[in-house]
């Protein structure tokens, strides 16, 4: 059964077997705690205290500093395309905490022995259950009701995240004038939700060059839509199985 509730400025949709429906309260608590710590809309959150100088990062909670460290590691790995530092100097961890909360919620369901579920928070999705692969639609950035593709998640692929400028800013800070090669929407399929979410963000920020670089460096599949509506897909998201003939040059 599907359970839906608002959290972190968006909507969570969680599919649970009926005999695990009572776990929903635990999951809501995980998302509520994440929001209470990291929301910049909540003036009393720990991150808001840091943002206005009322709390030093060095005096913050272990969880805050661990999340910051994780964000910094991703900043390094993506050569700054993903960054927790806003151009105005404010520390904003919302590019990573939603995925982190999804990961925590999934780990909780695994720990209590729930073996078939989906967690979708604002279009970022983590699933469990291999026997009958979950099919995930990829939204059409120009049509709220439409899909441009779909992907069957088979282990180890369990996570899908989409970033883009079609909806709200998604914590992507583009430097300079976005050129025609920029993507309006990037979907990344990965083994874990933090990787999928961070890299989708980085590819939106970095454009085609970042797409080629990141797709080569991480075991992910990518589907990107550019400003002209053209769709680019890595081999794993092309309609047929990877072609037998792989072109090397020419």
């Amino acid at each position: 059964m599907r359970h839906v509730f608002p959290t972190m400025g968006t909507v969570a949709s969680i599919e649970l077997p009926d005999d695990h429906a009572h776990r929903l309260a635990d999951l809501r608590a995980i998302f509520r705690a994440t929001q209470a710590r990291y929301s910049l809309f909540d003036v009393d959150s720990e991150l808001s205290l840091i943002a206005r100088g009322a709390l030093d990062l060095t005096d913050s909670s272990d969880a805050m500093r661990e999340t910051y460290l994780r964000a910094l590691e991703w900043r390094t790995a993506t050569a700054g395309l993903f960054s927790p530092h806003r151009p105005d100097g404010i520390l904003d961890l919302n590019g990573i905490v939603k995925a982190d909360a999804i990961e925590q919620a999934g780990a909780h369901l695994d720990a209590v022995g729930c073996d078939r579920w989906t967690i979708n928070v604002g279009g970022d999705i983590l699933v469990r259950g291999a026997d009958d692969p979950w099919v995930i639609g990829i939204a059409d950035p120009t049509d709220a009701q439409g899909l441009i593709s779909s992907v069957s998640l088979r282990p180890p692929r369990r996570a899908v995240a989409t970033s883009g400028s079609a909806q709200r800013g998604d914590h992507i800070w583009l430097g300079g004038d976005p050129g025609p090669a920029r993507f309006v929407q990037v979907t990344v399929v990965a083994d874990d939700i933090v990787t999928a979410d961070v890299l989708a963000t980085a590819i939106v920020a970095g454009g085609r060059e970042a797409l080629d670089d990141i797709a080569d460096r991480w075991p992910i599949d990518v589907l990107a839509v550019d400003r002209e509506g053209q769709i680019l897909a890595t081999p794993g998201l092309r309609p047929q199985p990877p072609a037998e003939v792989t072109r090397m040059a020419g």
Binding site: G122, V135, P141, L147, S149, R168
Partner: protein, 185 residues
């Protein structure tokens, strides 16, 4: 690591042809075996004076696996005879596409095809690349344009969830995800 190794063996097989050309001879020896490291092949091609026999000795592959050998599939008779006798010098390489034999490496089976036009390699294509998990190796995970008609027909009825850029609560209400959620209540 695996990708690098596969690329290395393709480079090595390409080097065989390059060496052959710069020596002014066709090296299409069906039975050439690994006898040198890739660096050796490069060195031979660099001076461009090696005999064709030396060139075939320079056939190389990482991990000393049997190197890919190349047999013409679209060559003229004279080139075919050159292939039979690697010691015989041929004036030039005919245009055409040449397909190598399949070589098993610890990274999987490798086979390449080389296209030559006007005496220059214009294309190298991997014909067979599989790893031990029988999954096609993606030499490059590069994204390529996809026509809308090529995209999987995405039927919303088959979909459990929709991945999209972060939904605001308002946008959620208008979304296909909301419709799917209602159906799943």
């Amino acid at each position: 690591m695996r990708v690098r190794a596969v690329l290395g063996s393709i480079f090595a097989s390409t080097a065989v042809l390059v060496v052959g050309w710069q020596a002014g001879a066709v090296v299409l020896a069906p039975d050439a075996t690994a006898a040198a490291q890739p660096e050796a092949a490069s060195a031979t091609s660099a001076d461009g004076t090696g005999s064709s026999a030396e060139s075939s000795q320079a056939t190389a592959a990482p991990e000393s696996a049997t190197a890919p050998t190349v047999a013409p599939t679209a060559a003229s008779d004279s080139d075919a005879s050159a292939a039979d006798s690697s010691a015989a010098a041929a004036p030039s390489v005919a245009d055409g596409t040449f397909t190598g034999s399949t070589v098993d490496t610890r990274f999987g089976s490798v086979q390449v095809s080389v296209t030559i036009a006007g005496g220059a390699i214009t294309d190298v294509t991997a014909l067979k690349l599989t790893d031990h998990e029988s999954r096609s190796v993606q030499i490059s995970n590069r994204a390529a344009p996809l026509l809308r008609e090529e995209v999987l027909a995405a039927q919303s009825a088959d979909v459990s969830n929709v991945s999209g850029a972060t939904y605001t609560t308002d946008a959620y209400l208008e979304s296909l995800q909301a419709a799917l959620d209602q159906a799943g209540f």
